[in-house]
């Protein structure tokens, strides 16, 4: 193989047809708000733990929608409820976080 000093990057393409969404559907049954999130990031912006730990509810939900695991990030959550107060869709984010921990643990 010839070295050009640069090479192909790993593809980030996702085949949503191959994503196992059974657990996400279960999550939506426990907390229907999971299905109406618009990914605005208000929850992450207002999260007091996010600044210190890198935790982001938006990132976690996006990863779960794509069939990836990210539940461990939520271990830093203090259930303070600030995200519930700022959510423009009125999602019960506390229940969302607890439901994620229940299903994905």
């Amino acid at each position: 193989m010839m070295d050009f000093g640069f090479s192909l990057s790993k593809s980030s393409t996702m085949d949503l047809g191959k994503v196992d969404d059974l657990r996400f559907e279960q999550l939506c049954r426990l907390e229907p708000g999971a299905g109406i999130c618009i990914g605005c990031g208000s929850c992450s912006a207002s999260c007091p733990a996010g600044r210190l730990s890198g935790m982001s509810v938006r990132k976690v939900l996006l990863a779960l929608q794509r069939g990836r695991s990210a539940g461990e990030m939520l271990q830093c959550c203090m259930l303070c409820g600030k995200c519930t107060m700022v959510c423009p869709r009125g999602i019960n984010t506390r229940n969302l976080i607890l439901s994620i921990c229940k299903i994905y643990d």
Binding site: M2, F4, F6, S7, L8, S9, T13
Partner: protein, 356 residues
């Protein structure tokens, strides 16, 4: 859908292209990458179609490369462009035709900016006067040179010596058309077919007998992206974009790719070599790559010009498989004979992709 309604909607995606009297400006890089393309444009339009195409040696860069690399401010680019318009005005033309897609996007962006902010246009007029004592009229029509070939595609088809048809099987050749991003993604109303249904190259392929391939990554960038290539640390990103396109089009077995941008044919052509050397993967049949041609080169082949006069020997990917399919006659021994049949020397051949 009702036919008349469909026609009405489609008419909104068209643009006015005057039939004659164009002021033509060349690209900075195309003459190095594919040196015969612009020469062939003037040859076809002037000598075959009998059109008035004017160009001047006083033309300079439009500043588009530097602008898109974030190295000069837009006001500087505007003053450069104002000078180009002054040259057009002095020559007595009002239809402006750039050969480069980035120039086309640059001109479209500047004309739109001046329309929105007339005070900025007034300032640029003043700057131009202070810099070189020139004045200008804005072009009445702006069209990319591929728009003109599209406009005259049926006249070219009427004079065709070869069609985009497999000479053995009689089947239409499968062609991938790749539009430069700066053609219609920035200002959709400025391109034929807009950003959603760009028809400028597809129209040529269909008129000349070929079949356009629709594949998932058809509208994906070629990967050039200026800073993605110019900064070596980002070059893998450029390569990966091109790789993504080839992986997407390969299952449809394209016979050739036609492009209308300076960067796209270069990267789609050269990166095939790099991908082959790095991964061993080739996308044409029998270890060859997929030939990548500019629309002028393809028009030249259709009109029966000698492939070596079209500069096809300067492509990285061998074009011979396409020439054989089209039934174009060529002399393999003359491939590396230049002007006056002087030997221009043979390149070192790659190890992983077949070339002649």
């Amino acid at each position: 859908m009702i036919y008349e309604g469909k026609q009405r909607i489609w008419s909104e995606y068209q643009k006015d292209i005057p039939d004659d009297n164009w002021y033509y400006v060349r690209s900075c890089i195309r003459q190095n990458f594919f040196p015969a393309s612009e020469r062939m444009f003037t040859e076809i339009t002037r000598n075959v179609l009998g059109k008035d195409i004017y160009e001047t040696p006083h033309h300079t860069t439009c500043g588009g490369i530097a602008y898109h690399c974030d190295t000069i401010p837009q006001e500087t680019v505007m003053t450069i462009v104002a000078r180009q318009f002054a040259l057009m005005t002095e020559a007595g033309y009002e239809n402006y035709c750039p050969s480069c897609i980035t120039s086309f996007g640059n001109y479209a962006e500047i004309l739109e900016t001046w329309r929105e902010f007339p005070e900025l246009e007034a300032r640029i007029r003043e700057d131009l006067w202070k810099a070189c004592r020139r004045e200008f009229n804005k072009p009445k029509y702006l069209a990319h040179s591929s728009d003109l070939i599209y406009h005259w595609r049926n006249e070219i088809a009427a004079r065709a010596k070869h069609k985009l048809v497999n000479a053995v099987t009689g089947e239409p050749l499968k062609i991938v058309e790749h539009i430069g991003c700066h053609y219609a993604k920035m200002f959709p109303s400025k391109g034929v077919g807009g950003a959603e249904y760009p028809y400028v190259l597809a129209g040529m392929v269909e008129s000349w007998g070929g079949q356009v391939i629709d594949y998932p990554e058809r509208r994906h960038c070629c990967g050039y992206g200026f800073r993605q290539y110019h900064v070596k640390a980002n070059r893998g990103y450029s390569l990966s974009n091109t790789h993504k396109k080839f992986e997407s089009m390969e299952p449809y077995h394209p016979d050739a790719i036609i492009t209308n941008c300076p960067g796209c044919p270069y990267f789609l052509d050269r990166w095939q070599y790099v991908i082959a050397e790095q991964t061993g993967r080739t996308y044409g049949g029998n270890g060859f790559g997929i030939p990548v041609l500019t629309y002028e080169e393809l028009a030249g082949l259709v009109l029966g010009y000698d492939p070596w006069d079209l500069g096809l020997q300067l492509h990285q990917v061998a074009v011979e498989p396409l020439l054989d399919k089209m039934g174009v006659e060529y002399d393999p021994a003359a491939k590396y004979l230049g002007l006056n049949r002087e030997d221009i020397m043979r390149p070192e051949l790659p190890t992983s992709i077949k070339c002649f």
